[in-house]
């Protein structure tokens, strides 16, 4: 039952076209991806739940629609992996936490509902750092996912199950959420395209909250065009999310089809590079800058002096919001309940349940946030962090008066080894050094692959940042870089991933 290699290596755009023309059925495509998951996920561990029956039923519905001559949407029949932070009525939603193990939500997230409506086939729910707090999936209560480039390395996080699934050809598309880099960083270390849309551009309704002023759902894919198609499908105003922007979705698909940077002003951020960045990351980044210049872009260096304070500000703001949001896990209406022996008080049951149900990182952040919001410390910590947030937004505003987009490496290093940073929270936090400023200001940002670091042969991501609601510029630059690098290389970067060699697919079938 080796997966059909041809079907699992197709892009989402190709699958949608083939399903629409009747060349293949969505059931065949879905079956191929389910087979691939069955073969490889024992090694990758991308999924917390695989919805085989529901996926095949959704695929059949698309095939029936086509047979009946009904029009199909641009992603109809395409399989997708959904991060386990989005509520789903027909699958559990755990957020990688013991406190929600087995929870079956009574409603669909807006993004879940929009995917279903678009005919996208949801294969299952992907692993993540508990409540999206982490950069490696090692904070998942259900064990880490593994990077398909090298199974001993992390796939990034918190959307690491989603990045691992797409890089392992278990799904052509995935949805993640990005609070401090949780889409862009896993995309970078797995050699994928990942996008954090403008804050408010994609709905948070039914996304279990971590830090509400920062949480942003978005796409992961193997190509810039696929990411654009998914971005388009999930975006737009949602009256159920009070921070949802009532504005047209930027023309992301048209931009992805128009890879032209001639005359575009691109700023390299001075503060996001140099010390603390691996030499191989900088090598590939600098080469990509030269490629963009050769395509006609005007490259300048732009200083954003307050970006070096973004990481400390983020680790006050996000934990503060998390300490408030996670107060809802009180063992009363849903989720885990521990110690309810008939004598213990509600408060004791609450404290015992939260101690047993939350992992170490979640506890650390709840206490850090409780500390930052305490009277006596509020002004010195949370208050200062909010002022830094203003200064970072002003740095972006000043930069975007000089240039159309900003670029930087997405991450300071390539994928680190599983276990390497578990005991050192500050080392783990540094993975999001370059991605956090975009979350604090709420603007749009993308990571696009720019090659392999010479020292370890692992993927490097280039980050593109655009002003609020100028998401289309990300796709214009990303598509131009992708086209230029793919044509130099002669194939997509992911074709060089070797971590799953011999594990599944054609090689295995040939060996039987």
């Amino acid at each position: 039952m080796a997966a059909d290699t041809e079907l699992i290596t197709m892009t989402a755009a190709q699958i949608a076209a083939a399903v629409a023309s009747g060349e293949v059925s969505s059931v065949e495509v879905t079956r191929a991806h389910l087979d691939r998951i069955a073969q490889t996920d024992v090694h990758v561990r991308a999924f917390l739940y695989v919805a085989e029956e529901a996926a095949l039923a959704a695929a059949q519905a698309v095939d029936d629609q086509r047979t009946a001559g009904q029009p199909l949407g641009p992603l109809a029949g395409v399989p997708l992996a959904l991060k386990d932070v989005f509520t789903t009525t027909d699958m559990p939603t755990t957020c990688g936490s013991r406190i929600l193990a087995g929870w079956q939500p009574p409603y669909d997230a807006t993004i879940t509902a929009r995917l279903r409506q678009a005919g996208v086939v949801i294969l299952g729910k992907t692993n993540m750092d508990e409540f999206a707090m982490g950069s490696s999936t090692e904070n998942s209560a259900f064990g880490p996912s593994h990077n398909p480039w090298d199974l001993s390395r992390v796939p990034g996080g918190s959307s690491g199950g989603s990045s691992a699934a797409v890089a392992a050809y278990q799904a052509p598309l995935a949805i993640g959420t990005d609070t401090g880099g949780s889409i862009r960083q896993p995309a970078a270390v797995c050699g994928l395209v990942g996008v954090k849309p403008t804050y408010g551009g994609s709905s948070r309704y039914g996304v279990v909250a971590f830090a509400s002023s920062l949480d942003t759902p978005g796409p992961l894919a193997r190509t810039v065009l696929d990411a654009a198609l998914l971005h388009q499908a999930i975006s737009g105003h949602d009256p159920r999310d009070s921070t949802s922007l009532d504005a047209p979705v930027p023309p992301v698909v048209a931009a992805a089809r128009n890879p032209d940077v001639a005359g575009l002003r691109i700023g390299v951020v001075t503060e996001l590079g140099g010390e603390g960045y691996a030499s191989g990351v900088l090598t590939r980044f600098n080469e990509a800058v030269e490629v963009l210049e050769s395509l006609g872009a005007k490259i300048t260096e732009v200083s954003c002096p307050h970006f070096s304070y973004a990481l400390p500000a983020y680790y006050l703001i996000a934990p503060s919001e998390c300490s408030s949001n996670l107060a809802r896990f009180d063992a009363m209406r849903y989720g885990l309940r521990v110690g309810d022996d008939g004598r213990a008080s509600a408060e004791e049951v609450m404290s015992l349940t939260r101690a047993a149900g939350f992992g170490a990182e979640v506890k650390r952040r709840i206490m850090l946030g409780t500390y930052a919001l305490s009277s006596g410390y509020y002004d010195a910590y949370y208050g200062k962090a909010q002022q830094v947030r203003t200064l970072i937004a002003r740095d972006f505003a000043a930069a975007f008066e000089q240039v159309d987009v900003l670029i930087s490496p997405t991450t300071p290093t390539t994928a680190f080894s599983i276990g390497e940073r578990v005991e050192d929270p500050m080392a783990m936090y540094l993975a999001d050094l370059a991605t956090i400023p975009g979350n604090l200001a709420g603007n749009a940002a993308m990571s696009v692959p720019c090659g392999l670091a010479p020292e370890d042969g692992l993927p490097v991501g280039l980050q593109i940042m655009a002003p609020v609601l100028a998401d289309d510029r990300l796709y214009r630059v990303g598509a131009a870089l992708e086209a230029a690098l793919d044509s130099r290389r002669g194939h997509p970067l992911l074709a060089e991933a070797r971590g799953l060699e011999g594990v599944g697919g054609a090689e295995q079938e040939a060996g039987r």
Binding site: Q104, S213, Y309, R364, L368, T390
Partner: protein, 97 residues
């Protein structure tokens, strides 16, 4: 030391986390490192800089006052840790004498 073990124990009580002794030791050491690092925000001269609480320009959002279907008791209670007589059953709230 930016934070003591006793302060961490106090935070754990405030946050309703029944932590074990060894957890308190470990978290005190880790939170000390983290708080020292994040205190860098205090280096920024920010007198007169307004705070930003949110990435979006927040305005209150109203909806029309129209009744829409909501969860029934069965759906609402379906995932409850304990339910009785169509209600959530919770542990005792007060102290009985």
């Amino acid at each position: 030391m930016s934070i003591t073990r006793d302060e961490v124990a106090h935070l754990a009580r405030l946050a309703r986390l029944a932590l074990a002794d060894d957890e308190l030791d470990r978290f005190a050491a880790q939170l000390d490192v983290i708080i020292t690092a994040v205190a860098r925000v205090q280096e920024v001269a920010a007198a007169g800089i307004p705070p930003t609480s949110h990435a979006a320009d927040l305005r209150n959002v109203f909806r029309d006052d129209v009744i829409t279907p909501s969860l029934g008791a069965e759906a609402a209670l379906a995932q409850a840790p304990a339910a009785e007589q169509d209600r959530f059953r919770v542990p005792r709230i007060g102290v009985e004498d």
